[in-house]
Structure formats: C-alpha cells, structure tokens
C-alpha cells in the first residue's frame, strides 16, 4: 500500500474526524464542539469560528451531519448538529484510516505512541 494514501486521508480528514467523533454520542452545538476539542486536546487543538462553522456546513452539505435549531424554555435557541447514519459510516472509515496512518508513522519513525 502506498504510504501517501492514508496520509492524504489524514490531512483531509483530521478536522472532520474530530468533529464526527464528538457527535458520535450526542448532538452538540458549535460552541460545545469547539470547547470539547480544546479541552480534550489539552489546549493543543483549537478552532476559530471561521474554521469551525465552514467545516460544519461542509459536513452537513455532504450529508454526514444534520443540524436543527432547537428552542428550549428559558434558553436561547441553538443550532444542534448530530451524526447521520452516513456520517457514522464515514466516522468508522476515518478511524480505521487514522489507525493505519499512526501505525505507518510508528513503523517508520520507531515512535511507539504517535
């Protein structure tokens, strides 16, 4: 297998993989997603709104996630994003691709934990 294939996938899909993973368990709004990425990456990964929302719209355009405005009593309405069945499939594929990439890097560099 050419080493470029999983790498290309990784480059293109890493940001997508992050968002799809966070939506796997429950629907979340944009701020929630950006906050979780920041917290769970220990502050290493961070999205500006001008990167995050275009990404969300792109994923929605592809049909991997769906969004709805939700109004709850005594709260401002918010747009929640959730994973579609197609998005779930993509998430599985991207996880697999990511693992392959990490394994390839480990083999080449001798780094055990990428």
């Amino acid at each position: 297998m050419p080493p470029t294939s999983p790498e290309q996938e990784w480059k293109k899909g890493s940001a997508e993989l992050l968002v799809l993973s966070l939506l796997e368990d429950q629907p979340r709004h944009g701020y929630d997603i950006s906050k979780l990425i920041q917290i769970r990456s220990g502050g290493v990964l961070r999205f500006h709104v001008t990167s995050l929302y275009p990404l969300l719209y792109r994923l929605e355009e592809r049909g991997w996630i769906a969004s709805r405005w939700v109004e709850k009593a005594e709260q401002r309405r918010r747009r929640y994003y959730n994973l579609t069945p197609e998005g779930r499939k993509v998430l599985r594929a991207q996880r697999k691709s990511w693992k392959e990439f990490v394994a390839a890097i480990s083999l080449v560099t001798g780094v055990e934990n990428a």
């Binding site: 500006h48 929302y53 275009p54 355009e61 939700v70 309405r77």
Partner: protein, 414 residues
Amino acid sequence: MHNWKRIVQDRLALLHLEPTAELDLVEELSQHLEDVYRELRSSGADDEEAYRSAVSELKDTYALRTESVRAQRMPQYDFVPPGGAVQGRFPWIGLIDILWRDVRYATRILRKAPVFVLIVVLMLGLGIGANTTVFTVINTLILNPLPVPDPSGLAAVGLMKPGSTPRSGAPLPLSYADLKDYQARNRVFRALAGYTSSRPVTRQDAEISEGMFGQLVTSNYFSTLGIKPVSGRFFLPDEDATPGAHAVAVINYGTWQSRFGSAAGIIGKTVRLNHVDFTIIGIAPRHFIGVNGIFGPDVWVPASMAEALFPNEMQGALSNRGKVFFQGVGRLNSGISMAQAQANMNTLAADLGREYPAVDEGYAAMVVPIRDVLLANTGGSSTRVLAVGTGLLIVVGIVLLIACSNVANLLLAR
C-alpha cells in the same frame, strides 16, 4: 453588554450573503462569540480582553462565505420541551414555521419596494391577462365552439344569390313563412329550426330598467340542437303556433347567474321585456349561448312573440315572406350528406321561387356546416378567425416572454 449580532453582521456585510443564510449565520456566530466572551469573563478576564479574544475569532471571514454559499438552504426548526429530545416529534410544525417566515420575509421585501412590486405585477398581469383573454377567445371559437351533442350533424340553412356566396360565409336569412315551408317539405333534416339574431330588449323591473338581448326562436330550436335545460323546460310545439299567445322565455345560464343571482325559484317568475310580461320556463345549459361563436342572447322567446316583443320592427314578420329575419339550423337525417341536403333544399327553393316569385324568385338554398356560421356575427370566416387567433396567441405569448425577461432584468439590476 456587547451587541454580538451587530458585530457579526458588520463583519459579514461585505460578504453579501443571501439574506436568509446570513440571518442564520449571524445568529449562530453571535451566540458562539457571546459564549466565548462569557467564559473568558467568568475565568477572570476583563471586558476589553474578553471582547478582543472573542472578536479575534472572526478573522478570515472569507471561508465563511465560501461554505455558506454552498450551504445556502433553509434551516430546519424544531420546538422541544425543556429536556426533550433534539429530534422533533412534529416536523410539520417546523415546515409551517418556515413557511410563515418566508411569507413575512416576502412581505417585508415587497413593502420595502412598492414601486418595483407594482411594476412587476403590472408587467406580469398584462402578459398573463392578454394570454388568458386570447386563449379564451380561441377556446370558445375554435376548440369548443358549440356545446351541443354531435355539432357535425348540424347544418346552417338559408338562402344565397346564385353565383355569389355571402361574404360572411353564412347564408342569407329566411322569412318565417318560408322557414315553415322548408320545415314541412324537406326530406333531409330530422328537424329544422329557426332563430333570429340577438336583438336589444329592455327589461323593466319595479326598480330598474336595463338593456338585455333577446332572440326569437322556433319552438323546436333547442330540441334540434339536442340540448336539455338545467332547470325547467324548453318550448312546447304549440308555443310558437299562435302569434302573441305564449309569452314564455328561456334564460341564458350566465344571465341567470349574473342578472338573477342564480335564484333557485326563478322558474315560473315573470320578466318584463319591452312592456310584455314573459314567464320564465327554463334555464339553458351552462356555456350555451345559442348558435353564436362569441356573443349570445340573454333570453330566448318563441318566434310567435315576434310582433308582441318588437311591434315596429317585426310587424308582419310571421306572415310576410319579404321580411327575412330567421337563420335556419337543421339536424341532418342519418346518412344524409351536406351535398344531398343542399340538393333537396335547392329544389324546394326553386319551388318557392315559382310559388312566390315576388319575394323568393332568384334565390338558391344554402346549406353549410354549422361551424362555418358561428363566427359570421363576428364578421369573419372560421379560417380567418383561426389564422388571426393563432397569430394573436403567438403575439401575446411573445409579450408574456418579454414581460418575464423584463422582470428578470429588473431583478438582476436590483
């Protein structure tokens, strides 16, 4: 408190996004910035610092435009109770909400530019109106000219000067007495009826006096055409036997609706026409306006009422063979062609010419398909009307296209 919506709006203004997409985006981003700001404030940052950090999120708004343009579609809405699931149980509520927002948005836009709206409505209105009018005329004249059963079995019967076909394409009228002779002597028509042109009459009421159009017809007129009344009955054979004896009338369906307000109990009521009281006995079928392409009478009365209804004009019309008021319409016997009917009627015309040389000599009979005379009153043959109608339809079609392109240009210019 910072107006986050305004801040986001100002940043997005230069992107010229589609208004609905922009509203959506502004709401979502302003919430995000507000969340960032609040969190920074609660973690100890001062207002200036928190504000700057929140606003710095908005750098490179161009990416927003690229994706927003691609994702310009209507947002979906859900209303859920506190703690409820995100997916709505009543998606149609969202649809109604979207529709309502659309209506409000359209109303706002229209209200902002009333002159523009007026111009657009006028342009489209004129284009559509012209098309509708012309198509209605074409439909009436050409596609569905005479709403009676088997119109191809009907022939227009009248006279002509040998060697010169009348310019209108319709035969010259007959006198009532001649018509009666043709009725009695012909062997080609199952039924032969007569009718005059529509003539103005005055309807007198307790409160009003209004102009209407009336047509005198022989008692077998409606049965010859093969139609049935929607209410009441048509004329009986003896109702045009004795002059002035039967003041009965059949009214046009459209007239019944417009002048009599579709009154249910109209049958048996009296209508006063030219100072003569007529009893309404029936209502003609919808869309039937007589043997006419465009313009028909409001009321039909028996031919026997000619002198009573039009004392001056029709004096002697029922007996004087020199007074020609009636067009003939005949229902051909089965198996009889127009040519055979023409031949038989020519023989009769020659007979009458010999019997009444003073008035009938020098005329030949004329028998033509009924569709050829439907347009005679409008002053044209069916071929000419068809050509003119088709031409008009093309012209108004082009007018509508021009109107549409003008509206499109106006929208583009805006």
